[in-house]
């Protein structure tokens, strides 16, 4: 009783401090501290075989800019991610539009179908793609049965492309749906009644109204593609070099933590650039 009456005397601010303390602790120890530390590491020098020398140096950043290998990885990552984002958008847009219009239990059912892959482990889904695309798999089987020359879809960028586009689809669909709020079916209906062809309705009504959703979905997928690790690692067979796989190799195989930290910050810089591009697009749209 005393404790309770005591509590009532706490101000909102004091009470907030007490209630937010646990989450703040976890956040500081597991998030803020590690990220700040990561930034510090990118200016330290690596010792051979692990460990660091605690000196301030720009070496890692200079290496990153001057080494053609890293430049290639960077441009490769950005280019591949952009292409995957575009493919994912094209594949997801019809589904999102259909879901936006669907109603009742059918809509719920389809939404569950879209979300369930999202909640399935990336390893499982990548394995599914390995099973589909390997040389004894059904896709190659069908191509062979049709008498076409069979391409190699595994352990190269093609497999990564196909798999990653599918893995990112649920994110894209959900982002598109979130941005489709402005698309009122009655506006479309009005355009059609007034004699616009379906193609024209799409070009002049649906597309402009869904651009915010498209921008959001592209931002999300690009960011996820740049930082994707499991699929390129498992489906690339060590022949696909992207930023995320290189970070892991530097951190775990080479044990060069300063370099891994520098590459991580580079990923964050790419994120920042993507976010800037997104807000520029959104400003143009408004």
């Amino acid at each position: 009783m005393i404790a309770e009456s005591h509590k009532r005397e706490l101000s909102a601010g004091q009470l907030a401090v007490v209630l937010l303390l646990p989450i703040a602790l976890v956040n500081v120890v597991g998030f803020i501290l590690p990220i700040l530390n990561l930034a510090r590491y990118s200016f330290n020098r690596a010792r051979i075989g692990g460990g660091i020398e605690d000196v301030f140096t720009w070496e890692n950043w200079v290496d990153l800019v001057s080494d053609p290998f890293y430049r290639e990885i960077l441009f490769n990552s950005i280019w591949v991610s952009l292409c995957i984002t575009l493919v994912t958008l094209v594949l997801s847009y019809p589904i999102a539009l259909y879901l936006h219009r669907a109603t009742g239990p059918w809509k719920t059912f389809l939404t569950v179908l879209v979300i369930s892959p999202l909640l399935t482990s990336a390893v499982v889904r990548t394995y599914g793609w390995i099973a589909l695309l390997n040389d004894n798999g059904p896709v190659i089987g069908i191509i062979k049965a049709l008498g076409l020359p069979s391409p190699s879809l595994m352990f190269n960028i093609k497999g990564v492309f196909i798999g990653l586009a599918e893995i990112l689809m649920p994110y894209m669909i959900l982002a598109l749906l979130a941005g489709f709020g402005r698309l009122d079916p009655r506006v479309e209906e009005a355009a059609r009644t007034l004699g616009a062809t379906p193609a024209r309705t799409f070009r002049e009504i649906i597309l402009p109204l869904t651009l915010p959703g498209i921008a959001l979905g592209c931002l999300l997928c690009f960011v996820l593609a740049v930082s994707s690790f499991i699929t390129p690692k498992l489906m690339g067979g060590g022949r696909v070099f992207l930023l995320a796989t290189e970070i892991y190799d530097q951190a775990i195989v080479t044990l060069n933590w300063p370099r891994a930290a520098t590459l991580s910050l580079l990923v964050l810089i790419v994120f920042g650039a993507a976010l800037w591009a997104y807000s520029a697009v959104m400003r143009r749209l408004d």
Binding site: L113, L118, T120, S227, L234, V267
Partner: protein
């Protein structure tokens, strides 16, 4: 209202796209009953040998128990930490409230590969690598933002009239919380618990940085296995994992509705 009659070509397109989206998830079910030694589809024979092999694989089973224990601990802690936090950010007025909310949900915006490396470096000096404590803490970083968001949505959409009534009738703040607010939050708590469990159980990238031969989780074990040999054993594990996921999705859908949890 028959406004939107989707045309047949469009329907076929949607169908094909759904097949593409679901193919890898569906394929593992028939594949898990393959009788072949290597990955081949369609299989030349059918059997349950890979399920037998799975239940004889002590490493996989151990990793499964680790994952289950870890996810259970993480879920309980997430709810215990996120409920007060969600209540504070939705019911209290204090300076910097939105800033706090953004900082607490920020780990979601960071790529897991970066977060994993950052945590690896710090945990290495705290001697938290390859320990259950370390994994719990690392998973909390990823699950708490989800829990906080879902619970905050659940709290802010709650009807405040009941709380007001209880207070007017003389209930103390703690009584109001435990007798009115908390029971009304149950769907949100169930949904976020299910989500936290799934996120922790499936987490692989960050965990990959923090595990070692001493302790490993099922997704990491699976990753290492696929990296070395992609035989149908993985399909058997995958099929079971997908069924687990579906069960959890059902819980979320029943409790709060999937759209409310994921869209926005």
């Amino acid at each position: 209202m028959e406004i939107h009659k989707t045309s047949w070509p469009m329907r076929i397109l949607i169908f094909v796209l759904f097949i593409y989206l679901l193919a890898p998830v569906i394929l593992v079910f028939p594949l898990s009953f393959a009788g072949d030694q290597v990955l081949r589809f369609p299989p030349t024979s059918w059997s349950t040998r890979w399920y037998t092999a799975l239940f004889a694989n002590s490493q996989m089973l151990k990793a499964f128990w680790t994952s289950l224990t870890l996810a259970a601990i993480v879920t309980v802690l997430s709810i215990a930490i996120a409920v007060p936090a969600a209540w504070a950010v939705t019911r209290l007025r204090f300076p910097g409230r939105d800033l706090f909310f953004n900082v607490f949900t920020a780990p979601l915006l960071l790529p897991t590969i970066v977060l994993g490396l950052a945590i690896l470096i710090v945990f290495a000096s705290f001697k938290l690598l390859a320990t259950l404590h370390g994994l719990v803490l690392a998973h909390l970083i990823v699950t708490l933002p989800y829990a906080l968001r879902v619970l905050a949505v659940s709290l802010s959409t709650q009807d405040r009239a009941c709380e007001e009534a209880a207070r007017t009738l003389g209930a103390k703040p703690l009584t109001v919380f435990f007798r009115v607010t908390l029971p009304m939050m149950t769907p949100g708590i169930v949904a976020s618990a299910a989500l936290c469990f799934l996120v922790s159980f499936d987490e692989v990238v960050i965990t990959l940085f923090l595990t070692g031969p001493r302790i490993t989780t099922l997704p990491v074990e699976l990753y290492n296995y696929v990296y070395n040999q992609a035989d149908p054993l993985v399909a058997a594990v995958s099929a079971l994992l997908i069924l687990l996921t579906l069960a959890v999705i059902m819980i979320v859908e029943r409790a709060m509705g999937l759209r409310a949890t994921f869209v926005r």
